[in-house]
Point group: C2
Chain length 309, copies 2
């Protein structure tokens, strides 16, 4: 399986349909597994998708409307049942922290979990490791809501031909990567720049329920994959605004303004048929020239290859 | 559709499987609609089964293990979304009332519901109407748990031939039913017994997580339909006892001791395949000679016809 992919667990807003479960998105990112917005039924959708509770290293909740969080108790209790003992960070808007408390203790179970609660009261870094930084920013919805952005640090890609030309191989490569320079047996100093090129870190953004706002664009800046709600078609722009949601066209504008690479549209109102949703891609494409995916339940969306330079 | 039937929404204990959602059972009983033990995903299972939130008149929770209650927030929030304004009685074991409180307020929504909360601290009548009495009794599980029994009052069935022989028709039949006797134009008194026969009320019982106990048999007494957990096969009787559950054979014994008519087995451990479950019917049949149904998701089980006498 790809080491970096988004597994779509559910794509319905507000009310599930025959074809669409409530929200749920699992981001596999090397050894990390981030679950975004587990709506009701996420536990079973994970089963259908082959995602296990033990693969979760973090859970990110954007806000506490039911379609974004009612699957949390089932996921947590399944983690306990499966004896997941590694720490799992759970982040959510601090203003609605009481809801997290209720969801965590929604039913009787043996709570052996090592949850690290990370209530977010403003723009904040959720977790930072050598592998990536996960950060959150407040969005503009009817209730406190945040979006998320994962950023891999920039690095360098070693060039096999250049290494061979200098006779650098084996453990010397690791030394070079550690110290950024190596002295050859003949006394020549080879800086890492001479045998490698910059490797841009990959970025992932998750923008759920929100009106258009600057923070959504900031989160999505240069993202290889932007998952963005598009509850409504452009014709319902007034409705979208009054309920604090985006249209497909507005999601396309955000992706374009941010210079994102792939836009995955999701969180569709139950009013739309599959035929209607095909037009969502057109509405987004009016603004955004990158790849557009209409997310369907159990889709697997690979993180696009790194950009060069 | 039949006026009295059980719509099976889910049949899995503890962990859902590809074929079985967590528990959930909708009893359609004339104008009443009782939802028993809504596990996670019940909202969507209702959609698949064609059951709407507006059909619910009562919700009965046996206990607060997640597989019996985590669908409650979704159902309640769906009722609010669908603008259900009629009173809905929600009953549950009083000792675990804090969990109901959390589930009711598990996410942000406009709570316009007219819920009548009915915490049960001992054997009690939940609701009583001219149409039926719904009562609960404590069972023997690892946590506070109750079972439910619905009883229709006994009545009388009018006999068309006897009515015709006495020349009784039209509005006179209603008068006879109201006063139990009618005076004919020729002065003859006709008691209702002469033109009718006893009509036994129907009974339904819902026995979930429990060890064998007297209360389970009392709840199931003479039931036309007994829905009974059988988490384990008889070979796992020790496991069943230690976790406070029944085996298929024990469910059969309860049905037999109670003189029930149809036994619907459900709440199966994820360890069993469809092939294993076929043997559950045999194990119950070693004790119980009535009809046995292995419940599957989205099954519709009609309430058997009335017994005579």
């Amino acid at each position: 399986m790809p080491s970096r992919e988004l597994v779509v667990l559910g794509t319905a807003s507000q009310a599930p349909t025959r074809a669409r479960n409530h929200n749920g998105y699992f981001l596999r990112w090397d050894a990390a597994g981030l679950l975004f917005d587990p709506g009701e039924g996420t536990q079973r959708q994970m089963l259908f998708a082959g995602v296990t509770a033990s693969q979760l290293t973090g859970i990110c909740v954007t806000h506490f409307h039911g379609d974004h969080c009612l699957g949390l108790p089932g996921v947590l209790q399944r983690m306990a049942l499966d004896q997941v003992t590694h720490p799992v960070t759970v982040s959510y808007p601090a203003e609605s922290g009481e809801y997290f408390g209720r969801l965590r203790r929604a039913a009787l179970f043996h709570d052996s979990l090592a949850l690290v609660e990370r209530p977010l009261s403003a723009a904040a870094v959720v977790t930072e490791t050598p592998a990536f930084r996960l950060e959150a920013r407040p969005l503009s919805h009817r209730v406190p809501a945040v979006g998320y952005r994962l950023t891999e640090p920039d690095g360098r890609r070693m060039l096999p031909a250049a290494l061979a030309a200098h006779g650098i191989s084996g453990p010397d490569i690791a030394l070079l990567q550690q110290f950024n320079v190596i002295t050859l047996p003949n006394g020549t100093l080879v800086p890492i720049d001479a045998v490698s090129e910059p490797r841009r870190g990959q970025k992932f953004a998750f923008v759920m329920d929100t009106r258009r706002c600057e923070a959504a664009v900031d989160l999505a800046r240069d993202a290889e994959l932007l998952v963005c709600e598009s509850t409504f078609a452009d014709a319902e722009a007034d409705l979208a605004d009054s309920y604090g949601h985006l249209t497909a066209g507005q999601a396309g504008q955000i992706a374009a303004d941010a210079g994102a690479r792939t836009l995955a549209l999701t969180h569709f109102s139950q009013r739309y048929t599959a035929g209607d949703l095909a037009k969502f891609a057109d509405e987004a494409a009016a603004w955004f020239t990158g790849d557009i995916v209409i997310a369907n339940d159990l889709d697997r969306i690979p993180i696009p290859p790194r950009r060069q330079g």
